[in-house]
Symmetry: C2
Subunit: 275 residues, 2 copies
Amino acid sequence: MEKIKRNDRVAAISKILSSHPNRIFTLSHFSQMFNTAKSTISEDIAIIKKAINHFSLGDIETVAGAAGGIRYQVSPSYDHSREFVEDLCEKLSESQRLLPGGFLYMNDIIHKPETIRDIGQILASSFKDKELDFILTVETKGIPVALMTAHFLGCPLVVARKKGNVTEGPNVSINYATATSGRLETMYLSKKAIEGYKRALIIDDFMRGGGTAKGMQELLKEFSIDIVGVGVVIATSEPKAKLVDDYFSLVELVSVDQEKKRIEISPSRWFSNKI
Amino acid sequence: MEKIKRNDRVAAISKILSSHPNRIFTLSHFSQMFNTAKSTISEDIAIIKKAINHFSLGDIETVAGAAGGIRYQVSPSYDHSREFVEDLCEKLSESQRLLPGGFLYMNDIIHKPETIRDIGQILASSFKDKELDFILTVETKGIPVALMTAHFLGCPLVVARKKGNVTEGPNVSINYATATSGRLETMYLSKKAIEGYKRALIIDDFMRGGGTAKGMQELLKEFSIDIVGVGVVIATSEPKAKLVDDYFSLVELVSVDQEKKRIEISPSRWFSNKI
């Protein structure tokens, strides 16, 4: 490449920023990379910001202060999120998803990059103003959802286990009751995994009674870690009173009729009360 | 935005392509989005391709044919990958990672977006020429690695379970022996999860004897699914003869001296024999 032009810098910076959501890059970083004045980089970034805002592709935020710089943040538009959530409801209500016991098969949805990215973006953007050190989930089905949310928030993921594991070092464990299994279960959290952390966001795929989320809250209490929020993909309408006070969900599972093979699922209140 | 200029299109297209690795976009898609001639979009894309190639940020590939278009592919440079792998070795050989039984604590590495993205990119780029329908891993620690690889290859993830689960529908199970536990274990694969798929890539975090990878191969055989490759983050030097014939790894765990608290770990042969 003979001479690096504005177009080239715009292409490269747009790529770099959006591949590292929430990571702060200094202007000097790009100034050195392109051997160009910071003022020129500032103009490049203004162009990128305007373009990705215009097409609802996210936002570029300027962070002031000594550790300041610019960062890319996901911010899916309400319309896009709502459309995605409505589409998700349609997919989730397909009768062939119904499994014995009234469970829903949803692994194809939470394991497909195209969908899990949208889910992660919506969850990340609803908690993006919270200060947090890490995301906590519990194995197994919460992991993809939580990892994509962590990717978009640029923070580490910690996975609580249902069985102590030799590769995690010393654990703290608690017992918790889930509405799904109706049994008392045990959850383990590695002490090494949360060393030095103070604030956590809890992410999971599904919430019925809230027992699992409550279990994660109890685990975090053992380490005096604050909980900044709870986010799930699906919450059930019943029981209305969950064991956790406050949570965010994308969709609400209203009812499952096993005999008629009918699944009623609708956008959660975050995506249904605005028109 | 009054008039959309080349810079704006370049910023937006670069963002969109790199957020959807391996997904094919038609020129018409962008042509409609920006209300511009396809020839203009072609020029925009040539600029983006040149810039991201120049800065080793990946590649834009043109796919011919009726379903053709353009797609972004990760292609970390050998130097970048080698540097990352060397850094990984340094981190993994810190003596405080040593756990009783000679196990290594590595969750902080495989659960951090910055590292897991690099790992996913390296794994994805080493299998990017293979035709595959999905990635298979087994719970729990393989999931983040496998999901990021799936993200960069743009294919779905399937997770085999160590316990049958009510939310996965009918399963096929096999027994397998692992060198780590020294016991016979059972692995379950949901039939619904692999419906219609023919070719799989196996991804896991760690390989000692290869028993777990072999288990996944056996599971796939039950469904007549071809295996296009096996990729792991860490493979041990011993035993040299693994239960799977062929695999790719980032680093090699040479030895662990529990008494002297010394971990010897080095870049795998893919990152050590070229200078």
